[in-house]
Symmetry: C2
Subunit: 415 residues, 2 copies
């Protein structure tokens, strides 16, 4: 049972021995080759992807989901661009992150090294195949990909192209392997292979993530949902605040770093909310307000469920709070620990918010939309970690490494 | 069932809200108070410990295990000294570990913050109670302690003293909680409390660690066994090599960083081994050699099992290998990824060994005995991590923190 997956895992482990010791030069050459091969294989990719798309349409899958599945020239261009971006990122492998030189001259360096075999379990979007593979490979890891069954033909084509590009530059083609089984129990099998898999990254909805966390024997890097909050303190600049809230809600509402709940200090609510409503009406943003909000502006009623909902849409819930502490309490109760912001001119309140809110990213006077590997100068990311262990916030190349100590001695002995 | 543990967990979560935001000043004051209270409570501690010791003797527990249980003036002095050491360590909370300032002036700082509620599951030695508690508390975490049932009275006394010291300085006494249930199923219960426990650290034998890894729903920090290797390359200085091997084996054989297997290049074996045997005979170190070793010196035969055995004793297994590659292969097969060393004068071989051996610490020309938080300048440690995720090698204060991004803006919006 799943003997082929076991063979893939053996291959990945052996390939890691080679890839983990490669310099950036060859890894970057691979990324250029991959970009070239993706460009040359457009017709092939699109025709293989078409099989998946047709099958989805036959199965009457919702058109919005079919859209996520589609690969076209534009999306292939994005993949090629990703290769170029990752090629230009500095390779973290070998970076010294800490050092200590002892009195006896022993030099202790803590350096970054690749993690090992990384399993990525994801749903639908086949462009994730390229995005995650290139980040994992550039940081010296090998990867087992388990994509959605609905994208099997697309993923098979893309993984084939990655293997060819690895081959082109003399890197092991087994540094990437695809799980082609489409049943759910192959995931259970994968999650037990602690001997082979060093890290598993689920990319998808909450159900998938919860399942992986509950059943995995190996470390999990969780990239979770974002119920992000902005708190407008009484001292905030109203016009600037509105521009930040607008940006956080409407610039790209379908992303995990978009704001979902606005908390407004009661002493600024009557000035801020009417102006905000005016703007949001023109942008067709639905407001769901608490009782106090509804005394000030005309809007729908927010239910208990709203406070924990990630809308990913042009909807915002608004609550009037009587103090900074109330805002912090609300966030503590409902936040998914992704990104939260305070808008204020009060220094002490700003610092208290920073110290008290336990989320991956906490902002003073800025839009939550910045929580992103690209915006944070990391070049690219595999997701936003909302857990606390190993990596928190945007996960880029560095977060796909671990460390080891290398020690340079002169036949030193311990006294 | 286990309602009291649930209440402890609620308490710990609330205490974390307070402790995680405390400055070092109060935490250090707590450590001074704790040292003072331990000193003043010697009679009480020893009499409570006596109950555990007597019970163990009644149960005919082996005297070597009873010895691990005993608290006496010397061991209490060591606990007090630990408080002083940890007090003097720099508090990692708030340290900026990375930063990025955007073109638009947005300042993105990645800072260290405490992890949360840490559960520590350990066996026997009650001094672990103090050692782990003070490291976890100094780094701003709160802790759930589950000690061995054989040390319950001792642990209850020590945790009581910690709580008093917390109280003395105005820190929440619920920042540390003891699980008093002695059945095994309370561990299962703990390992499911993902909502409350952010990290679990098993300290004990392989069976305990494996059990926790297999059953835990939350991240585990593994501190594993050490089957450590030294490879003597053909170009090594023989006398200096012998002094390093001697140090690694005999300076404190019962520790996880002591060497267990010596790999000797065939071109140096006939010169090195007789000298080593001469020394080890005087020190009563038992040698278990491979066939080639036994052609050169008179010693017991190493079986297949020896290569994967952590002796923790005055025993060493020796294998003659024909190349650096053979040595690396042997290590890959048998190492527990703790610490390995090469002794050589050949630069390229040294660098190849460093790059190829995937262990927490890899040495050139030094004893494996240095793998230790104290020796590495970390002041104190909670153990040596032999896993790859989050922390690898000695686990000190910094490794008991995670990070978050704090972002200072000027009403910045994303374009």
């Amino acid at each position: 049972m799943y003997e082929d997956v076991k063979i893939s895992l053996e291959n990945l482990k052996n390939a890691f021995d080679i890839l983990s010791r490669e310099n950036s030069e060859k890894k970057n050459k691979f990324l250029r080759k991959l970009a070239q091969r993706l460009d040359e294989s457009r017709d092939y990719i699109i025709s293989e992807n078409n099989k998946d798309v047709q099958r989805a349409r036959e199965l009457k899958v919702k058109e919005s989901l079919v859209d996520r599945l589609v690969l076209n020239d534009k999306r292939i261009n994005e993949m090629i661009e990703s290769c170029r971006i990752v090629e230009n990122l500095r390779d973290p492998v070998g970076e010294v992150v800490d050092s200590f030189v002892r009195e006896d001259g022993l030099k202790i360096y803590k350096i970054r090294v690749p993690i090992g075999v990384i399993a990525i379990i994801y749903e639908s979007r086949p462009n994730v195949t390229i995005e995650t593979a290139i980040l994992a490979l550039k940081s010296g890891n090998t990867i087992l990909l388990k994509g959605g069954s609905d994208a099997l033909n697309s993923n098979r084509a893309l993984v084939g192209i990655i293997k060819e590009a690895l081959d082109d530059v003399g890197l092991p083609r087994n540094a990437v392997e695809l799980v082609e089984h489409t049943d759910r129990s192959v995931v259970d099998y994968m999650l037990k292979q602690r001997e082979y898999i060093d890290l598993v990254i689920p990319r998808g909805g909450k159900a998938l993530i919860d399942y992986v966390v509950s059943n995995s024997r190996m470390p999990v890097l969780e990239t979770g949902a974002g119920v992000c909050h902005i708190f407008v303190d009484e001292s905030a600049d109203i016009d600037k605040s509105i521009s930040v809230i607008d940006n956080a809600k409407t610039q790209r509402p379908g992303t995990c770093n978009a704001v979902e709940t606005l908390l407004v200090h009661k002493n600024i609510a009557s000035k801020l909310l009417p102006k905000l409503k005016e703007l949001f009406d023109t942008k067709r943003v639905e407001i769901r307000g608490c009782e106090e909000t509804r005394k000030i502006i005309d809007c729908n009623e927010a239910t208990e469920e709203d406070w924990s909902t990630e809308y990913l849409d042009l909807i915002i819930s608004i609550k009037v709070v009587s103090s900074l502490d109330d805002a912090i309490e609300h966030i503590k109760k409902y936040s998914t620990k992704h990104s939260e912001a305070i808008l204020t001119e009060n220094y002490s309140n700003a610092m208290k918010f920073l110290n008290s809110v336990d989320s991956s990213t906490v902002y003073i006077n800025a839009s939550t939309r910045f929580t992103d590997g690209g915006q944070f100068g990391m070049g690219a990311e595999i997701g936003i970690s909302t857990q606390k262990f190993h990596a928190r916030g945007p996960v880029g190349l560095r977060e796909l490494t671990t460390t080891k100590f290398v020690v340079f001695g002169n036949y030193n002995v311990r006294k």
